[in-house]
Structures are given as C-alpha cells and as structure tokens.
C-alpha cells in the first residue's frame, strides 16, 4: 500500500509540474531497506514514476539504508550529510540518487504511517486510521454517512502488496 501512496503522490507532483522527471528518464533507483522485508524501487519512464517492490531488472542506483533514514529523506535530511555519517550507502551514480531524493522531499505524505503495517497490527492500524478520519470529518461536516462509506470502502478494498520478500529476482 505504501508503494501505491508514494507513487500517487509523486505522479501528482509530476502532473502539476511541481517536479520534473526528465533528468531521471529510463533510470531505476532502488532503496534497499536494511531493517524491513521490502525494497522500494523507483522506475522513471514515460514522464511518470512507478514505485514497485521488486524488479526483474537491475537498478542503475542502489541505495542501502535503514527505514528511519528513508523516512528522514522525506523530511529534508541532507543526503551528503547522511553519506558522511555512513547512514547511507550508494552503489551507482550519486547525482542520480540526489535528483530522486530532491523529489522525495517534495512529497507531503506521512510515509512512516503508511509503512507501519509492516511493523504493527494491520487491522488495528486501518481501524485506527478510519476512526481518525471519521473524527476529523465529523468535526467539519454533518454527513457522517459519506465519511463512513468512503472509509469502509478503503478498508474493504484492502490492497496488499504482492512481494514482501527481498531479492526474488527472475
């Protein structure tokens, strides 16, 4: 689900002209999260970005880091400083990595929350999110039924990612 959220956010920014993917065209950038059982791959092609968990192709740039460092990138943490502190390892072109990191910084989503399904109870997490959403909307609107409908729809559809395991390449 977190891949979906991230992909949606990035492509929204591309559509609105907030970010430009031209310098990254045809590049595959992989984030290998050392402490979570998943990778995050960014495929930049056809003026859009696809975010997938595994690829059959080898990445142009492989970035090894812990999940906390990955989240920090979204909050504007400096890549050079993280490299200097050995919190991140880049295999491949650093400039390409920097271009993507600059884009991630523009994404205004709480990825940590989206990723919490890997570390917490997914049902509690989803129900908690729905309760939060209902509470927020109820304060603004009288139409609680629309909110419930949307929220339950989100839960029932329940997309789950196909691959949670690393390194299953064809």
């Amino acid at each position: 689900m977190q891949h979906f959220v991230l992909e949606q956010a990035l492509n929204f920014l591309i559509q609105t002209g907030s970010i430009d993917t031209t310098p990254l065209d045809s590049k595959i950038i992989q984030f290998s999260l050392q402490d979570l059982p998943l990778d995050v791959n960014f495929i930049c092609t056809n003026e859009r970005i696809f975010v997938v968990s595994d690829t059959a192709k080898s990445a142009d740039v492989d970035i090894e880091l812990k999940s906390s460092v990955f989240f920090a990138l979204f909050k504007g943490e400096d890549l050079t400083e993280l490299l200097r502190q050995d919190k991140i390892k880049i295999h491949g072109d650093v400039k390409t990595a920097q271009l993507l990191v600059d884009m991630l910084e523009a994404v205004d989503i709480d990825l940590e929350e989206a990723l919490s399904q890997y570390t917490g109870d997914i049902v509690a997490h989803e129900v908690g999110k729905i309760a939060k959403k209902i509470k927020q909307t109820a304060q603004k609107s009288n139409n609680i039924f629309d909110t419930l409908k949307d929220s339950l729809g989100d839960l029932i559809i329940n997309p789950s990612v196909s691959k949670l395991h690393k390194n299953k390449h064809h």
């Binding site: 979906f4 992909e7 949606q8 492509n11 591309i14 559509q15 495929i43 092609t45 056809n46 003026e47 859009r48 696809f50 997938v52 968990s53 595994d54 690829t55 059959a56 192709k57 729809g153 029932i156 559809i157 329940n158 997309p159 789950s160 990612v161 196909s162 691959k163 064809h170």
Partner: protein, 246 residues
C-alpha cells in the same frame, strides 16, 4: 493430441472456445452491469476505482481498454486524458460493445472510440498506447500468452498494462465461503435475475481455471514486460497485475 483448451471445467477444441465465450456474453450483455453489482455486492466498482488510481494515466495519454464491456473504466479514463488524449473502448463481443456505447451515451460521455477486436490480434501499430487495461476479460481469452505479447507490442516504452481479474484467495475460510457462493449462489442468482443459470455457472468455473497471481505475473514477464507486480484485493478474490514495458 488434439488442440484443446478449457471452457469453464470442460475441455473443448481451441478453435471453438471463442464462439462459446461469445455465446455467454451475448446472453449476459443486457444484464451485465446489474449482475456485476448484485454478484459482487458492488465491490467491482471499488476494484475498478483502484485500477484507475493505479494507472497513472494523465492528460494527453492514449489508453486502450480491452474487453471493456459496458465502459466503466473507459468513462474514468476519458476524464483523465482530457480533450488532448484518446480512449478506445474495445471488446470482441458486439453485444457488449453495444451496451458500452449505450451506457456512455446515457452518462453523457463522448469522445470515446469503439473498436470490436480480438485481444490476440490487436490492430494497432507498435508503441502506440500509454496504458492498456483489461478488466475481467483475460480469463476468457483463448491464447493469453499471445494476447499479452500483443499488448506489449502496442504499448509505448514505459507504458503500463493493468490486468484486473479474479484470482486465488490465500485465506482458507474465505476460499470455502467463496466456493460455496460461486457454485451454489451465483448461478442461481443468474437464473433468477438474468434467466441464465448456465452462463453464470461458466463464469464461476472460468475463474477457477484462470492462472493464479504468481503464474500470471510470470506470463506477463514472459510476454516481454520489464516489470510486473500484483496487488491482491479483497483477500485475493481479485488481483490487479501491473506490467510496465521497458
């Protein structure tokens, strides 16, 4: 060995399958939307909404919806591509395409093109489309490998293929309920509402004969796509496969 394939749980001559499937869809076309709503409890609308959201289709894109039937996806793609884009709603079945045309007119959606075609022989030039979708249609295609290969051919590099299809649930409990529902309730409802129990028996059987998530993923990759990933929806009853051409 004679060249055979499955039609539901039956083995039939490969050359006959297309006509048999045509018979089913000729029969269900006029009640297709109603039956989808009843049989899926309206869930098909959520699955399709997720498919559209996953497409990353944007203004100016060219989109081909294969086996598009009554046009649910085409309507949403039309909104996304805008005036500068192009959406083609296609189906092998003339009755389904006719329902699609009626549906779009009734909903005031214009600018969608209609093409009757066989997914195994797509009448388009190489590298034409930004996105191709096929929702609840691939399982009825006789030669799926050939169809996937054709889709790969006419997608632009970086183009995206979306396959929304019934699949295999990984929950034993859900599977038991789903089996009971599919083989005991679905055909009966088809008989009561659409006066066609047999066609809905075929639909239930065809779902069981369709490749599971991992097999379909491998088929997409074998067809030449550089990437393929799937997402299970509703516990795997349905899966969305997303292939990207490189």
């Amino acid at each position: 060995m004679e060249n055979t394939t499955h039609f539901g749980f039956k083995n039939v001559a490969t050359k006959d399958k297309q006509n048999l499937v045509k018979g089913v869809f000729d029969s269900v076309a006029s009640n297709y939307d109603l039956m989808n709503d009843v049989l899926s409890f309206g869930m098909h609308r959520l699955w399709k909404r997720y498919t559209i959201a996953s497409s990353n289709v944007k203004t100016g894109d060219k989109v081909l919806d294969i086996a598009g039937g009554t046009g649910d996806l085409a309507i949403e793609f039309r909104k996304k591509v805008g005036e500068s884009g192009q959406v083609i709603l296609s189906d092998i079945n003339a009755a389904m395409l006719g329902e699609g045309r009626k549906n779009l007119i009734n909903k005031g959606v214009f600018g969608v093109e209609f093409v009757q075609l066989n997914a195994q022989y797509l009448p388009f030039e190489d590298n034409t489309f930004d996105c191709i979708s096929i929702a609840f249609g691939l399982r009825n295609v006789t030669n799926k490998d050939q169809a996937l290969s054709e889709m790969n051919r006419i997608l632009k590099p970086g183009g995206c293929l979306l396959i929304l299809e019934f699949s295999k649930t990984d929950s034993e409990l859900l599977e038991k309920f789903y089996d009971f529902y599919s083989f005991n309730v679905m055909p009966k409802l088809g008989g009561i509402i659409a006066d066609d129990e047999e066609s809905y028996q075929y639909l239930a059987e065809s779902i069981r004969k369709h490749p599971d998530q991992e097999t379909l993923k491998d088929m997409v990759l074998d067809a030449g796509f550089g990437f393929c990933e799937y997402h299970n929806l509703s516990g795997g009853i349905v899966a969305l496969h997303k292939g990207i051409k490189v």
